[in-house]
């Protein structure tokens, strides 16, 4: 899947590009030592995808245990390890790093840069994250098992007395390294945007995806150091430090953790929103609607993300609930603007319903369920009932899975031709979409009812209330259908790479600069001079000019 060496071996020096030295080594060693942002992005993304499969496997094991009220498929202890490692793997090792991988790969291309700033720091960050992930998963081989105090590992449950053992220590160290590595890579993306934009690429001409990536990496830089701090303190606490003790200790841990933990929720959302937005704009042959309002709404979103954290703590009695209800409910304003812009882009467009577009539309509709239930849980009185229940599990899986993962697949179907030079199969893509839509809603929608009806999360067994058994069985079947959908995706990638349908440079009539170079791009990104940049969709501008001169736009779309 890596960049093909030799292609575009004689890159035209672009703009103000400083002389860059990019390793041309091929094979594994080249992949692991290259400071080419594209190869780092693919490595990070590829490994994240493996963790997606691993985290999904944990989910399938959990759903099997929960298929009936009193199954003995796994032990209580194993179940606790599974839900802890499912959440940790998905959050620290898949959705967040994948968001950063997209930014690392795409941002330099979209802003017309020849590479990423501080590439060796980015490579060090990548390796730190790789070590963190491996260390966290090593917990499975520790006596007593892997981390088992939840992905948020609240103190004092996670201290040395209540959760002893090496597995939980490995979890803490793994989180520290993964977070530090991702913060380093995010810092490099911030620097790239600050310093390496091509001439003409003003901040307010940056593509929509790059804006979503910018607010994302800013949130990472602001909040991940807090996670590193709280995990270091937890490690000291676990080894006799007595840091998170008593009521204030317990509240302090949650305050610090969620000060990271809520921004990361949007880190796991924005780049996928950006991917869906690019797919919708390109498939509508129309500029993304309401650019300025969209950028402002995201900046507001990112700023407010640092002021909503304690809505995870309404039931603790340790925070001012009204304040956090106020800030959290207000988030519906910027979120609503994003929907307005998506619809504004569709209206008047010339829509092509290819797989990337369908995933993007499904992203918006399914995320809406997560968003609206988010307004619901922002109310303390409603949260008093549903906090800690399957209602919350439903809510955040609708945002993260039904939302972000669908946005991720919109991005994959949109950019795979750019990453690899080959098109993905449309029919398999649509089959995957259908399976995933059915599976997702079958798995997560019943959880709203179960949670409201009193089923707590993080339990391996549940009472035999009327209806609960059926709903849980449906969810387990749904999880299987999701797995089938993911399998279809893997088959699609395999087939498309084995029997390649060449994509060409710009199969979709793209709007942004990554489509103005070869697929995959050469080591220094651009093998020809950049087009003039006078808006956030420079290639669409060119096409419009051509049309106005009376020429037909070059219809090179290879896919239906």
């Amino acid at each position: 899947m890596g960049a093909q060496p030799g292609e575009g071996a004689d890159p035209v020096s672009v703009a103000t590009a400083p002389p860059a030295r990019i390793s041309r080594m091929t094979g594994w060693l080249g992949t692991l030592t290259s400071t080419d942002h594209k190869r780092m992005g693919l490595t990070l993304g590829g490994l994240s995808l493996l963790y997606f499969l691993l985290g999904g496997l944990f989910a399938l094991l959990m759903r099997t245990q929960l298929a009936q009220s009193n199954m003995h498929f796994v032990s209580d202890n194993s179940y606790n390890e599974l839900f802890t490692m499912h959440g940790s793997t998905m959050i620290y090792l898949f959705v967040t790093p994948m968001a950063i991988a997209l930014a690392v790969y795409l941002v330099p291309l979209q802003i017309g840069a020849t590479g990423i700033s501080a590439p060796r720091l980015a490579l060090a960050g990548l390796w730190t994250w790789i070590c963190g992930g491996l260390i966290m998963q090593q917990g499975w081989f520790a006596s007593g098992g892997a981390g088992r105090a939840g992905w948020s590992s609240y103190a004092p449950l996670s201290n040395g007395t209540n959760t002893p053992g090496v597995g939980q220590d490995l979890w803490v160290i793994g989180v520290i390294l993964a977070a530090a590595g991702m913060a380093a890579m995010a810092g490099c993306v911030v620097a790239t945007i600050a310093r390496r934009r091509a001439p003409g690429m003003a901040l307010l001409r940056m593509p929509v995806f790059t804006w979503t990536a910018l607010v994302t990496v800013l949130m990472v830089v602001a909040s991940f150091p807090i996670l590193v701090l709280v995990m270091v303190l937890l490690y000291i606490d676990r080894h006799g430090g007595h840091i998170f003790t008593g009521f204030t200790g317990a509240i302090d841990y949650q305050d610090l953790f969620w000060f990271f933990g809520h921004p990361v929720v949007y880190v796991m959302f924005f780049p996928y929103l950006g991917a869906a937005a690019e797919a919708i704009a390109v498939c509508s042959h129309k500029r993304w609607f309401g650019y300025i309002a969209f950028v402002a709404s995201m900046m507001a979103f990112a700023a407010m993300s640092t002021a909503v954290w304690s809505h995870h703590m309404y039931t603790t009695g340790g925070v001012t609930n009204q304040y956090f209800a106020f800030t959290s409910t207000l988030l519906l304003v910027p979120a609503g603007v994003e929907y307005f812009d998506a619809i504004g882009t569709l209206i008047g467009g010339a829509l092509v319903l290819r797989t990337s577009m369908l995933f993007a539309l499904t992203f918006f509709l399914q995320f809406l369920v997560g968003g609206l239930s988010g307004v619901f849980v922002a109310s303390p009185v409603l949260d008093y009932q549903v906090y800690g229940t399957y209602m919350i599990v439903a809510h955040f899986h609708y945002t993260l899975f039904a939302g972000s993962i669908f946005g991720f697949f919109a991005g994959v179907y949109h950019w795979f031709p750019k990453f690899t030079g080959a098109l993905l199969r449309e029919r398999l893509g649509k089959l995957q979409l259908v399976l995933m839509v059915i599976g997702t809603n079958l798995t997560f929608f019943p959880m709203f009812f179960l949670g409201n009806d009193g089923m707590p999360r993080r339990v391996s067994r549940y009472p035999t209330h009327p209806g609960w058994g059926t709903l849980n069985e449906l969810e387990t079947i749904g999880a299987g259908i999701i797995a089938l959908g993911v399998l279809v995706f893997l088959v699609n990638v395999w087939t498309s790479l084995r029997r390649r349908v060449p994509a060409g440079d710009d199969p979709w009539l793209g709007h942004t600069l990554e489509w103005a170079t070869s697929s995959p791009p050469p080591p220094l990104n651009f093998d020809r001079p950049l087009p003039p940049i006078s808006s956030y969709s420079p290639l669409l501008d060119l096409r419009h000019e051509e049309m106005d001169r009376g020429g037909e736009p070059a219809e090179v779309s290879a896919a239906r």
């Binding site: 309401g290 812009d341 809406l368 109310s379 009185v381 707590p456």
Partner: protein, 214 residues
Amino acid sequence: MALIDTRREYDHLFGIYVPIAIGVFALILVVMLAAVVIFRRRPAERAARWSEHNALEGSYAALLACVAAFLLYLTFTAEHRVDTVANRQRAAVVVNVIASKWEWTFTYPAYGFSVRSGTVGRQPLVVPAGEAVRFNLTSVDVIHAFWIPALRYKHDAIPGSTQVITLSFTKGVFAGQCAEFCGLRHPDMVFTAHAVSPASFGAWARSRGRGPTP
């Protein structure tokens, strides 16, 4: 003053939030589908070139802010009743709730006895129906959460603090459970609450303890 009823407060808010959410979802679904159906399969050169309407978008954002203000008004009113007014009510009985891995101990200080939800006897929490019941929540080890789903209310029991909540029950038997993950046997940390008439409660409490202190 009417007794604060957590179930009624929840159901009231639920009855406003959820219909609005369903309406918004239906609206956006219909608009998106309509846009897809109307604007699909047109030649690329027919795509409109406009891409901005900031006045319209600004008005829309202002409308959203009004919706947020409306929801916050409702939430703040209900939250004030549940969290503040309820604790000012005169309580008919006080129960000290001590959470520990993995059982609940309910102490009736006025009567001088305790019951335990754990493996020994699985004794129920007994409360008088139709009156305010005050709970002092604490924990001896990790964070637990005291939750009675039918009352639509839960609150954390955190070591090192005693937190006061006030609930009211209708007659009946209610399932309760720990709602904050607390380790290995978390699923087993359940209890039963029996809400009985004040007279029956008094008789039960006197038979168990030394009788109410004057």
